[in-house]
């Protein structure tokens, strides 16, 4: 919702600056951004009353002297004779129709001109433009029918069969299910509170209009604009609730703007009020307010605060204004007071939990994680929405798309996809696990089970002992001995047909319910503790990496430590990783060879051989400075 700073400040006596108003709006809980003197507001769904200039001004009365008495039409209004039948009084208890006939319309002036000049809003036609302005100023949507095409016989009803109509935005709309609509001769002319049809809407030739001003139940409007893909400011307001007692004022204000921009020939009004709006009264109890907020306010202060917002206090009772349908209890009143005081100005009181603390029992899940992480596995978290399904899969009624229409019953496929995407990124040693709930349903009974799935493939590791060996089932069983201690489980080998990548090594996976993992793992003592610091993440490179393997020869074993220290000390922007992947010692021939892999990658570009060679030369020079380290065959 957008508001002009000018629309607001011209009604405030002290003329506060835009930044001051911004601060006050934040204090009141109204989030916004400011662009070129326009406030782009984001109101919470309970504050439908704020969706107008008057609404904002009413709240700003907490801080300023504000004039919210806009000029209204004071001419005569005759009775309008129409044959209107309200067959949905429960959904619309108050409705008015105002007929206005004008002689001509002139270039816009006054508030109407300012609105269209400064708000960057498209013009439609005279009456629709005023209707839009009145909604902006008062928060009450109105709908304008051309009197000639509407006629005098129409009704409001809830229909349960399908109807189609061409909306005033030129969109063919087919309504299905239960809908509150205006009908003429059995045909829909208006989806109530959302959008009217084109046939009966005003045009630039309209000189006689019938303006509908109604109070629709939010329940009847909510969801309709989304269901039929209609962007409707009116629906947005009705969904959040409008002031049921504002119709007379709104229509007189409408007439005033018409009068400022045209010559009125005659005005007639039809009004139907089926339900007296009950006053909502809340007993004032300052002690309770102080108990809610942790303050020591006096009754006088409380009364002063809420009076500014239009609440009337009489005989110990707080009467809420008709536009504040969100205020029901003393907690609501406490919040109103806190907003005016400023949440940041409410003092702090020490928080502590005085009763006995319960110590957390050892959680099996934590231990499973530790075992897997200690053995080189990375934890992943996957989305539960999948396309694969069985007769027991849980179906999502309103999925994001057809590929995410079911809740997964197993974690396995997600992990296969994780492995596949990493193989495509040149990864040749992958060990992943996930712990998550899996869901299924039978006869409307939903089953929830916590599952562990792990998947592994490629090299066992990148140290010299494991680099040239591929992961096998036996390797995994030995590696995860602590986890699978008492379980006679078999890893399954995933068929390469199910993995779309060029890698060829075998892939093994295991899925097991957490409940089926032996309780004895609770005794497991983690080797690697969880990091206690949050390391700053470095953007992942989207460019390919280049590997360079160098075979160093050393003439005595004592040099091994020096060589390793040198490897560790190699630090270059494009050097991503380095490790000893091969080691060979022949004591008889006194030959020691150490294979080192250097992995290069840049975050901003694809590296060339020249880029890599330049760094590699520096590395090699450093290594060869040590007496006894050589690179056989180096030219």
């Amino acid at each position: 919702m957008k508001f002009l700073y000018d629309s607001i400040v011209r009604r405030i006596l002290s003329k506060p600056s835009i930044s001051e108003i911004s601060d006050k709006l934040f204090q009141l809980g109204h989030e916004h951004e400011i662009n070129d003197g326009v406030f782009e507001m984001e109101f919470t769904p309970n504050r439908g009353d704020c969706l107008s200039v008057i609404g904002i001004l009413r709240d700003l009365r907490a801080f300023y002297e504000v004039d919210i008495n806009f000029d209204t039409y004071d001419g005569e209004i005759d009775n309008l004779k129409i044959d209107f039948q309200n067959k949905a009084k429960h959904a619309c208890n108050t409705i008015s129709f105002l007929k206005v006939e004008i002689e001509d319309d002139r270039p816009y002036c006054g508030v109407l001109k300012n609105y269209f000049d400064e708000m960057d809003v498209n013009k439609n036609n005279f009456f629709t433009d005023i209707s839009n302005y009145i909604s902006y100023e008062t928060g009450q949507p109105t709908h304008c029918y051309d009197e000639k095409t509407l006629g005098r016989v129409f009704s409001l009803d809830i229909v349960n069969d399908d109807h189609s109509f061409l909306s005033l935005l030129d969109k063919e709309i087919t309504i299905t299910g239960s809908n509150l609509v205006f009908l003429k001769k059995g045909k829909v002319i208006n989806l109530a509170g959302v959008i009217g049809d084109k046939r009966t809407s005003c045009t630039s030739n309209t000189k006689s209009v019938i303006i509908e001003c109604a109070h629709f139940l939010p329940e009847e409007i909510i969801g309709k604009s989304v269901q039929y893909d209609i962007k409707s400011d009116a629906a947005h307001k009705f969904e959040r609730g409008v002031d049921p007692l504002c119709h007379e004022y709104v229509l007189k204000r409408f007439l005033k703007v018409v009068e400022e921009n045209s010559t009125i020939k005659n005005v007639q009004l039809f009004s139907e009020n089926n339900n007296q709006v009950k006053e909502h009264l809340i007993p004032l109890n300052v002690n309770t307010i102080n108990k809610i907020l942790g303050t020591e306010l006096q009754e006088k202060e409380c009364i002063s605060y809420i009076s500014k917002l239009g609440f009337v206090i009489e005989g110990g009772l707080i009467k809420t204004p008709s536009y504040r349908n969100d205020i029901k209890t003393l907690n609501d009143i406490a919040e109103e007071i806190a907003r005016i005081i400023g949440y940041d100005n409410i003092p702090l009181s020490t928080f502590s939990i005085p009763f006995n603390k319960k110590t957390r029992p050892c959680i099996k899940e934590d231990k499973i994680r530790s075992i897997l992480i200690d053995n080189g596995f990375y934890e992943v978290i996957n989305n539960p929405f999948v396309v694969d399904n069985t007769s027991t899969s849980i179906h999502v009624d309103n999925p994001l798309d057809s590929n995410r229409a079911f809740i997964r019953e197993s974690l396995m496929n997600s992990l296969i996809k994780n492995l596949e995407s990493n193989e495509k990124r040149q990864k040749d040693s992958i060990k992943f696990f996930e712990i998550a709930n899996v869901h299924s349903c039978s006869n409307n009974n939903i089953s929830i089970k916590k599952s562990l799935c792990l998947i592994a493939g490629g090299r066992e590791g990148k140290n010299y002992n494991e680099f040239s060996k591929n992961i096998t089932q036996d390797y995994l069983k030995e590696l995860l001995y602590e986890l699978l201690l008492e379980n006679d489980v078999n890893f399954i080998e995933i068929s390469r047909e199910n993995i779309s990548s060029k890698s060829k090594y075998p892939v093994f996976a295991l899925e097991i319910l957490i409940d089926d993992v032996s309780d004895s793992i609770k005794e497991y003592k983690p080797i690697f503790p969880k990091p206690i610091k949050f390391k700053q993440y470095k953007q992942i490179s989207l460019y390919p990496s280049i590997n360079r393997d160098i075979s160093f020869s050393i003439d005595r074993i004592e040099l091994l430590d020096i060589l390793q220290d040198l490897i560790i000390s190699c630090k270059y922007e494009i050097l991503k990783d380095k490790f000893i992947f091969d080691f060979f010692e022949n004591k008889k021939l006194n030959i020691i060879k150490v294979g080192v892999r250097f992995i290069f990658q840049d975050s901003l570009k694809t590296l060339t051989d020249n880029d890599v060679d330049e760094v590699l030369r520096e590395i090699i020079t450093k290594f060869l400075e040590i007496d006894g380290i050589q690179i056989p065959g180096l030219k």
Binding site: F26, L28, G29, P45, P218, G223, V226, K291, G294, N331, E335, A338, Y343, I346, P347, S349, F351, S352, F355, K358, R369, L372, D374, N375, G376, Y378, E379, V380, I381, N382, N383, F385, I394, H395, D397, N398, L400, R404, N418, S421, N422, R425, K427, A436, N437, I446, G461, N463, Y464, I527, F528, K530, F534, K535, Y537, I540, I557, L560, Q564, F579
Partner: protein, 241 residues
């Protein structure tokens, strides 16, 4: 232990893996709250509308209940929980005050763009006792934020709206580049919710708060795109050791 045979071998680099950064962040928050005396509770991810909405005073007309915001499953028989608050409802029904519970886990909303995901994580807490008020809530929030960031971080409380708390607040912290960033939501438990959970609201009051784990993780690790957390990219995951 290194055997005598290995004395002449290079140091074997044993590569260990990593917890997922979201779980690390969640555990970091949960551990701190546990140290304050909160007890961890857990609950189902597929919920009834009664527990996810009705018990929490979220009316049928609230936008969050619409099909465009909430995932419904099995012919509207259930919902994917939109927050972890139903866990607290269940806990309040099963326990008598004073109570102090936290729950953390996956929640679901029908969003999918650069800043919102259909699945994300929350940690929520509730404390119900006699004479719990907004100034206690503020002190607790200061403690949480100072633990998450540091004692010098500037924060502000803004009025907000959650049907299950009244008054309700959102809390922002001032970032290094001078922008206010929303961090959490909190409030005084709406007496209607206490009554729904068979807790005498004339005797007891409560405070509640909820944090989005991804939001905190993004700030703490400096991750700019929330989607990175769920791509399962080894280059990404290996940074969080």
């Amino acid at each position: 232990m290194t055997s005598s045979k290995e004395i002449n071998l290079p140091k074997k680099i044993v590569e260990f893996g990593a917890h997922h950064p979201i779980n690390q962040t969640k555990d970091f928050i949960v551990s701190f709250l546990e140290s304050l005396g909160f007890e961890i509770v857990d609950g189902p991810e597929i919920e009834t509308e009664e527990f996810n909405f009705d018990m929490l005073n979220i009316k049928k007309t609230h936008p969050a209940r619409q099909m465009h915001d909430t995932f419904y499953v099995n012919n509207k028989f259930s919902v994917l929980r939109t927050h972890t608050s139903p866990v607290q409802v269940r806990s309040m029904l099963e326990n008598k005050p004073p109570i102090a519970f936290i729950s953390g886990g996956k929640v679901y909303r029908k969003d999918d763009d650069a800043t919102h995901l259909p699945m994300f994580h929350q940690v929520e807490g509730i404390y119900v006792s006699e004479d719990v008020n907004f100034s206690h809530l503020k002190d607790l929030i200061y403690k949480i934020i100072h633990h998450l960031f540091d004692n010098t971080v500037q924060l502000r409380f803004r009025p907000s709206y959650f049907p299950f708390t009244e008054p309700s607040a959102e809390v922002d912290i001032l970032s290094k580049d001078g922008k206010w960033l929303e961090i959490l939501g909190c409030g005084i438990v709406n007496p209607i919710v206490l009554d729904n959970c068979n807790i005498d609201s004339s005797k007891f009051s409560g405070l509640a708060f909820g944090l989005g784990v991804e939001r905190i993780a993004m700030l703490k690790y400096g991750v700019n795109d929330i989607r990175e957390f769920y791509k399962s990219n080894l280059d990404f995951l290996s940074q969080f050791k």
